[in-house]
């Protein structure tokens, strides 16, 4: 029990050896770097594919917990791959978290990736810390999915801005702001 008045600081970690990753990148060196980082975090199961088509095939068979994909690849790219995965009913897990790891970093690209259904965007150069934080965010702060006539993917509103004064583009009343309790909050409240 923490002393009265003191808040408990709960340190959490990810049990990486229970996670299965699929890394899709046409560059063998980048796959090696990612494999090294993920193994160092504690992951045992890292599967690899070298283009979008092989990635989709591997996704179907391996059923990974998290997909990490490059954007620029031959055959079809990471954006197209994301759109193919985010097809409800077309595969085993259209909700799989997808990290887009790419040399692109301009806002236009980030928005395009978000609108394709990417869960997290990670601009190269890669660092252990940035990758770890993206994975941590996926695990402890899951977002609900939104389906509209033009979009299916993780909720693009990461935060609810109570001071927002613009037009409400989603129709359906108050209940459409649904906040999923983050695991981190659950762990804290059980401390």
């Amino acid at each position: 029990m923490p002393p009265a008045g003191a808040s408990a600081i709960v340190m959490i970690r990810i049990d990486f050896n229970r996670l299965r990753f699929l890394v899709i990148d046409d560059n063998a060196h980048m796959r090696r770097i990612l494999r090294t980082l993920l193994h160092s975090f504690g992951t045992r199961e890292v599967y690899e594919a070298e283009d979008g088509a092989a990635g989709l095939e591997a996704f179907t068979h391996i059923i990974p917990d998290i997909v990490i994909t490059d954007w620029v690849m031959p055959i079809f790219d990471g954006l197209e791959l994301t759109q193919m995965i985010r097809q409800p009913g077309a595969n085993a897990n259209p909700y799989v978290p997808i990290i887009m790891l790419t040399g692109y970093s301009d806002k236009r690209r980030v928005i395009a990736a978000r609108d394709a259904g990417v869960t997290e965007f990670l601009a190269k150069p890669i660092s252990a810390k940035a990758l770890y934080h993206r994975i941590m965010n996926i695990v402890v702060n899951p977002r609900p999915f939104i389906r509209t006539s033009t979009y299916f993917g993780p909720d693009r509103r990461r935060n609810v801005n109570l001071n927002y004064v613009g037009v409400e583009r989603r129709k359906g009343g108050k209940a459409d702001i649904i906040k999923q309790q983050a695991l981190f909050d659950k762990v804290k409240s059980s401390a």
Partner: protein, 186 residues
């Protein structure tokens, strides 16, 4: 690892959208950390161990860029040779900083920008492509020499100025400004 158990997502329906809360299967991997557990430091150490191979990797990438340039020389800037050249340059742009060659990333990024932002890439002078590829080769080759960084920096800035001029000439009234290059590691 992935579970084969089927759990249904919760769906809330609204006038023009649905909010779907899939079962949070990854919740099972959250655990309490111990004070001495630092996976990021572990990963950084592993990457540092790998770094003895980085110069060889950079040379491999450089060879691939050279081959893609040769293909453009032979076949012109048609879709396939152009995409192949772009992919290699983009890979180099993305990983050269990690491999310890930040100025190579800048030059490769400049080549990507030329290919992506020229309205008709077939109009890009082969000489300008050659200059980018040769600059990448030279920076990697001379990397270990004293003062190499200062020379590489000048080379990169000159290439950037020439490319900007070309893009302006090709119809871009206000070219997109390029962010300042990252600081090179000492």
């Amino acid at each position: 690892m992935a579970s084969s158990k089927t759990q249904k997502p919760a769906v809330a329906r609204f006038a023009d959208h649905e909010v779907i809360t899939p079962p949070h299967k990854l919740g099972r991997v959250v655990a309490r950390a111990t004070a001495d557990d630092d996976p990021v430091a572990r990963a950084e150490a592993a990457l540092a161990q790998l770094s003895s191979q980085f110069t060889d990797w950079m040379n491999d990438e450089c060879e691939q860029l050279d081959r893609a340039r040769e293909r453009v020389r032979e076949a012109g800037m048609g879709v396939q040779p152009r995409e192949a050249l772009f992919r290699v340059a983009h890979d180099i742009k993305g990983q050269a900083v990690t491999l310890g060659f930040p100025l190579v990333a800048e030059v490769a990024g400049g080549l990507c920008r030329l290919i992506e932002e020229t309205r008709d890439p077939r109009r890009i002078p082969l000489r300008l492509i050659d200059q980018h590829v040769d600059a990448v080769r030279a920076i990697i080759r001379e990397h270990a020499r004293p003062h190499a960084h200062a020379v590489a920096d000048k080379l990169m800035l000159s290439l950037r100025a020439v490319s900007e001029e070309f893009l302006r000439h090709e119809g871009k009234d206000a070219p997109v400004p390029i962010a300042s290059p990252p600081l090179a590691p000492k």
